[in-house]
């Protein structure tokens, strides 16, 4: 074998464990889901193999699924916006802090040490009728009766922001870290105020990080089902809850497969648009 041929093969040999793992754990199950989406659920709950378009017809034509999908995208968009507004100043503060950066980053990572479900449920103890906030407000004499703060759209967004904010901060932080701080000094020396230097130099240069954080927050937020389940009211279900219900409650795996693929395609298109205009490199930096 020639040296060129061997060199051409080497990357594939090195990549083969990762490719095999991804193939077996991602693409093969995905293929199963695609196949399942064309099957039918029988009256007993058993699946009927075959090639039927019923599930796809239902998923694509029923306004119920479209409305919940739009609601899901709306909640994910609001969450992303809130994360961006809250996350940028925090990331800026960490990136520009001098001695305690490592401690601040450690604090940022601290929530990941606790299960996402427990973090979500902690809001019940904070916002519940007999939770910490109501108790404090009653104790301070601000209110006489506990307020109903839980189980609505706001608490769903709050739970999602709690979950996703670190992803946003990390991405923006990585982006800010890559910017040469002397650029701001240069802008100042040319007459720009600190605010103008930030707006015209730092912010534009950090936008890829903001976009990467936004993409992560949006995709993860749109795919969640735990938060609306724990913190949402009866009508706050998101699209992943429909998938859960179809598969778990209704034992309708074929319809659940079609719905999950539908969500996957919608989010996949968003990722492709992001990749087309901004590239995945920034996202990888943030995740790294």
């Amino acid at each position: 074998m020639s040296i060129e041929a061997r060199e051409r093969r080497q990357p594939w040999i090195l990549l083969s464990p990762a490719l095999t793992t991804i193939g077996l754990l991602l693409f093969v199950p995905l293929l199963f889901i695609v196949v399942y989406s064309f099957w039918l659920r029988t009256a007993t709950g058993a699946d009927q193999a075959g090639f039927y378009l019923d599930n796809w017809r239902e998923a694509l034509s029923d306004p119920f699924y479209r409305d919940i999908l739009l609601f899901t995208l709306k909640i994910a968009a609001i969450t992303t916006l809130v994360c961006a507004v809250m996350g940028y100043p925090a990331a800026y503060f960490i990136a520009r802090s001098r001695g305690n950066k490592a401690i601040l980053l450690l604090l940022l990572m601290l929530p990941f040490w606790i299960s996402y479900i427990i973090r979500t449920m902690s809001w019940i103890n904070i916002l519940g009728v007999s939770g910490a906030l109501n108790s404090l407000l009653i104790w301070l004499g601000i209110i006489s009766e506990p307020m109903q703060m839980l189980y609505n759209q706001t608490t769903v967004i709050l739970g999602l922001v709690h979950f996703l904010l670190p992803f946003m901060i990390l991405n923006v932080f990585v982006s800010l870290e890559g910017i040469d701080v002397t650029l701001e000094d240069a802008a100042n020396s040319l007459g720009a105020t600190k605010w103008e230097a930030f707006l015209q130099v730092t912010l534009p240069l950090s936008l890829p990080g903001l976009a990467a954080g936004g993409l992560l927050c949006f995709v993860l937020g749109a795919g969640t089902y735990i938060t609306p389940l724990v913190l949402g009211g009866p009508t706050d279900a998101m699209f992943a809850n429909l998938v859960y219900e179809a598969i778990i409650t209704q034992l309708n795996w074929p319809l659940g497969s079609a719905l999950s693929l539908m969500l996957l395609v919608v989010l996949g298109v968003l990722v492709m648009i992001y990749n087309r205009y901004l590239g995945m490199a920034q996202l990888m930096k943030g995740l790294g």
Partner: protein, 381 residues
């Protein structure tokens, strides 16, 4: 002849290959075949092995604690067979898990309602228990056994274990005993309690209570649209649908809600903890019987041994006192002690004539359509 293990086999094969006795293609082929054979056989090895553990899945919380303490630990001490227990939030969730599992992965489940038993039978997941290995079955209320036999052509794939009701639980600080008796199931659609009402996110329970709220028989709803309207009205007034016994207890104990339908044993547990929560079974309230169901391809003898141990009056009574649901034992045959007669839904006659159970044919016949419709109604449609 001396038996050799797989490692020795592999080493001999490797030695032959290194010595040049075997070409590379044959060596790799044999290794591949061995790997494939191992992969195929592994899932079934559990069935052939002597049984050292049995998997049990139940409702969690106080129910699991009662079973662990009073049945599983003593059983392990007596037989050496370990009982690994898992939990689920509802029968629908569990049936999905079983459907996705390998044969023999799940063994015994604490199923609620005869309709669930019928669903498992419909999916071909029932087995046939050897009743000679279940002498303690003689103590069980016959009516509870017969309904299961009717579904599986005279045989059993489960043993009845307890029964209870899904009645109305209410906070006495805000709702009096007289008010709950007067309003019955309609209190769950009473505008006066908007935002302080909850309900189980289970389509059967929702439709059952909708039937009561619209003056219909739960086992024969004639005006479906009126029932769905009642479900919608409840949804609009409800703060939250709860999804587990723990969530139900938390919502009531934290006073997030003032009234909901609830599982009798969980409310008794709250009362024992000192919460002033009342419990009322409205006329035609939802009665159910639970069973210990053995899933097809489980190690039968070990499962039967465990079930018989669990049905022994001393075990069954201890579990019932712990989980606060009356046992399936016939009060006419077994002395049940002091606490059990005080539990909600307890029937001293053993006939269970006062309870209304779900007709499995009727409810399973509507399962596909109603569970789907409820999924939509629940979300505001």
């Amino acid at each position: 002849m001396k038996k050799i293990d797989n490692t020795t086999r592999y080493e001999r094969l490797r030695e032959r290959y290194m010595n040049g006795d075997l070409d590379r293609r044959s060596f790799l082929g044999l290794l591949g075949a061995a790997g494939a054979a191992y992969g195929l056989v592994t899932p079934y090895r559990a069935l052939a092995q002597s049984v050292s553990q049995v998997r049990f899945d139940g409702w969690g919380g106080v129910v699991s604690e009662a079973l662990r303490k009073n049945a599983f630990d003593p059983f392990t001490a007596k037989t050496g067979i370990e009982v690994v227990d898992g939990t689920f939030g509802g029968g629908d969730e569990y049936i999905s898990r079983v459907k996705a599992s390998q044969p023999g992965e799940y063994n015994i489940a604490h199923l609620s309602g005869v309709f669930d038993y019928a669903r498992y039978h419909g999916l071909g997941l029932t087995t046939k228990l050897n009743e000679d290995n279940l002498p303690n079955l003689q103590y069980v209320i016959p009516k509870l056994v017969d309904v299961f036999r009717n579904i599986t052509d005279g045989s059993l794939s489960c043993v009845p274990y307890d029964y209870g009701t899904t009645g109305l639980a209410y906070n006495r600080k805000y709702i009096s005993d007289d008010e709950i008796k007067e309003k019955g199931a309609k209190i769950l659609i009473d505008e006066a309690y908007k935002g302080k009402i909850a309900g189980w996110s289970d389509w059967r329970t929702r439709m059952w209570y909708a039937a009561l709220q619209t003056g219909q028989s739960p086992n024969g709803i004639t005006d479906e649209e009126a029932a769905w309207d009642a479900v919608r009205k409840h949804r609009d007034l409800a703060l939250k649908y709860w999804g587990s016994g723990a969530e139900l207890m938390s919502l009531l104990a934290e006073e997030e809600i003032h009234v909901t339908e609830a599982w009798s044993g969980r409310i008794y547990a709250l009362q024992e903890q000192g919460h002033d929560i009342g419990y009322f079974d409205p006329p035609n309230g939802f009665g159910w019987q639970e069973c210990m169901f053995v899933i097809k391809d489980s190690p039968l003898e070990a499962c039967e041994e465990l079930l018989n141990f669990m049905l022994a009056p001393e075990t069954s009574i201890a579990v019932a006192e712990g989980q606060n649901y009356p046992p399936a034992l016939d009060p006419q045959k077994v002395e049940l002690g002091d606490k059990i007669p005080t539990l909600p839904a307890f029937d001293p006659s053993g006939t269970l004539e006062g309870l209304t159970f779900a007709d499995p044919d009727y409810w399973n016949g509507h399962e596909q359509a109603w569970s789907k419709t409820f999924g939509r109604v629940q979300k505001g449609y």
